[in-house]
Amino acid sequence: MIKQLNVFVENRPGRVYSVTDILTENEIDIKAFTVQDRGEYGLIKMIVDKPDEARLALSERGFACALKDITAVSVPDSPGNLKRLTLIMNENDVNIADVFGFVVQPGNLGVCCMEIHDTLKQAAVDNLKKEGFKLLDSSDFTDL
């Protein structure tokens, strides 16, 4: 499991800056991020090297934030992989609430970070492995 930091921000100029400024001040490295736009507000979702410290730093400065467990898998980037991944999820009746992906260079490694309802069933884990996907843990992210 990977800890993802979700931060509530109003949709107005300077909010992402304020968050990253606080993280920089606390020497926290952002490994991956995405922003979920919800109109008047948004959620900044980040994977950072020190999630607990990051949450504390932001909370102390008044931000509403929370750590969420997410499932991250990696596979070499090639056509059809996302389809194979989602097929496995579908076959195991896993609902993905939110997802983002990116490719790490060099090495062409595709990474997919998923917020899923419930926990991933063993059958799904086995199938992922069989199809060549690798379930990542937080130490994998530090090396990215």
């Binding site: 993802q4 979700n6 509530f8 921000v9 109003e10 909010r15 979920q36 919800r38 008047e40 507000y41 959620l43 909370s59 008044g62 931000f63 509403a64 934030c65 929370a66 750590l67 969420k68 609430a97 939110d98």
Partner: protein, 436 residues
């Protein structure tokens, strides 16, 4: 100008005659008030030994004021002065702090109220030939039913359509040749903007007049409405504590609202000191209902700021006139005709665990319709990190506010610590509505 009367004798009675009626009725109503637990205690505390203490009209000043708080603290029946079997109608407010203010009326009280409303309508020129489209809310709100009964008593054909549904409103105006509207000024403005959409022109309608009430508006708005519709708009005053509409009403001269002084004693006081002010001076209106026996209210502080005209009216009515309401002594807001106190909103939002310590109320206008925006801060410790949590929080606040204040708000969720904070008295309400 044609001047119609409903009860010419009373409406044009001399000052002495009015004083006689008032004194006689005041004595009766004080006697009646003594039958309620609330007034028995209150009079006793104020040193009033018996109802016979009233010798002159000035003696009313010996009586203590009655406030909205008294009504709340004695909910539900502490002010009831007659047998419950005699009650035929109960009206109630939405409940500012969870406790509503409730008013009881007997059959006779209903009759008196209806008669005053009929008199009010006739003063604006209404006759039995008119078609009355009542666009006010029916139900516990007294504006709808009060005018409905009065209009029927005049003999008008009443369309009890209620508020909203502009398409149907305009259609009915056309199909039934409506002559008289009872409507809030903002809705009347709103409808004008929609007439083009329905390919309707003012000339296609048979409108002769509008009775506008339930929300404060300026003389400029009235003039604008009168120009747009090419018909007079009459201002009315009432409050549920004094039955509802029909306390004061404009005549065809539209120059202040005649207070029906055989039904009410009106005093203007300095809201700070309670001192009674002379005619012409602005202060808080205090009303005594002279005819309601099921639940008498003596010297009720309305919180409305206004003055009484001290000049005669060319219509010949001798009952003094009330100015427009120029403000309130409390923080009540009127949103699309509905009375709302900021404390009602505070109570709802502060009871929700996901809401932080601060909130703000913003009032704006979209077209002619008031918009209530409630801004809240999210409470950091209750934040789960999910957007769905924020959506359901928003929905929850909307639903609970709607249930409590009968107004649909727009809710905005903010970061903790971003809404303005205050030292001392908070200014949580920002009213950005231009005066309509």
């Amino acid at each position: 100008m044609q001047i119609n009367f409903w009860n010419k004798q009373i409406e044009t009675a001399s000052r002495d005659e009015i004083n006689d009626i008032q004194l006689r009725r005041l004595k009766n109503i004080v006697k009646q008030a003594y039958k309620s637990e609330f007034y028995k205690k209150k009079f006793h505390k104020a040193g009033i030994e018996s109802p016979e203490d009233i010798k002159t009209l000035e003696d009313i000043q010996k009586f203590p004021f009655t406030t909205k708080n008294d009504l709340r603290q004695n909910y539900p029946a502490g002010l009831l002065a007659s047998d419950f079997d005699d009650v035929v109608r109960i009206h109630s407010s939405s409940g500012t702090t969870g406790v509503p203010t409730v008013i009881y009326l007997s059959g006779e009280d209903m009759d008196c109220w209806t008669d005053l409303v009929a008199r009010s309508l006739v003063a604006t020129g209404c006759t039995k030939s008119d078609v009355f489209q009542n666009m006010m809310t029916y139900g516990l709100f007294t504006g709808g039913l009060g005018l409905h009964y009065g209009a029927e008593r005049v003999g008008m054909a009443v369309l009890p359509i209620g508020g909203g549904n502009t398409i149907r409103q305009v259609r009915y105006m056309q199909d039934f040749n409506t002559t008289t509207l009872h409507i809030t000024p903002s809705y009347l403005l709103h409808i004008y903007g929609k007439l083009d959409d329905f390919n309707t022109k003012i000339e296609d309608l048979s409108l002769k007049r509008a009775i506008t009430g339930a929300e404060p508006h300026t003389e400029q708005t009235r003039k604008k409405l009168e120009e747009l519709y090419n018909m007079p708009c009459y201002n009315s005053y009432g409050l549920s504590e004094m039955n509802g509409p029909g306390v004061a009403f404009e005549c065809v001269y539209r120059n202040g609202m005649h207070i029906w002084e055989d039904g009410f004693i009106a005093e203007i006081i300095n809201p700070e000191t309670g001192e009674v002010l002379p005619d012409g001076e602005k202060g808080e209106l205090v009303l005594t209902n002279l005819t309601r026996t099921a639940m008498p209210l003596l010297r009720y502080r309305t919180r409305d700021l206004c003055h009484i005209y001290d000049s005669d009216c060319p219509c010949g009515r001798t009952h003094r006139r009330l100015s427009r309401i120029m403000g309130r002594t409390d923080d009540m807001m009127i949103i699309n005709g509905v009375n709302v106190f900021p404390s009602q909103i505070e109570e709802v939002v502060m009871n929700i665990p996901e809401v932080g310590t601060n909130y703000q109320i913003v009032l704006t206008k979209k077209g002619a319709i008031d918009k209530l925006i409630v801004k809240v801060e999210i409470y950091s410790k209750m934040f789960s990190g999910d957007a769905s949590q924020l959506d359901s929080l928003n929905r929850k606040i909307c639903e609970e506010l709607k249930a409590s204040i009968f107004v649909n708000p727009v809710v905005q969720i903010h970061e903790p610590g971003t809404l303005p904070t205050f030292e001392g008295k908070a200014k949580r309400v920002i009213d950005m509505r231009e005066e309509i």
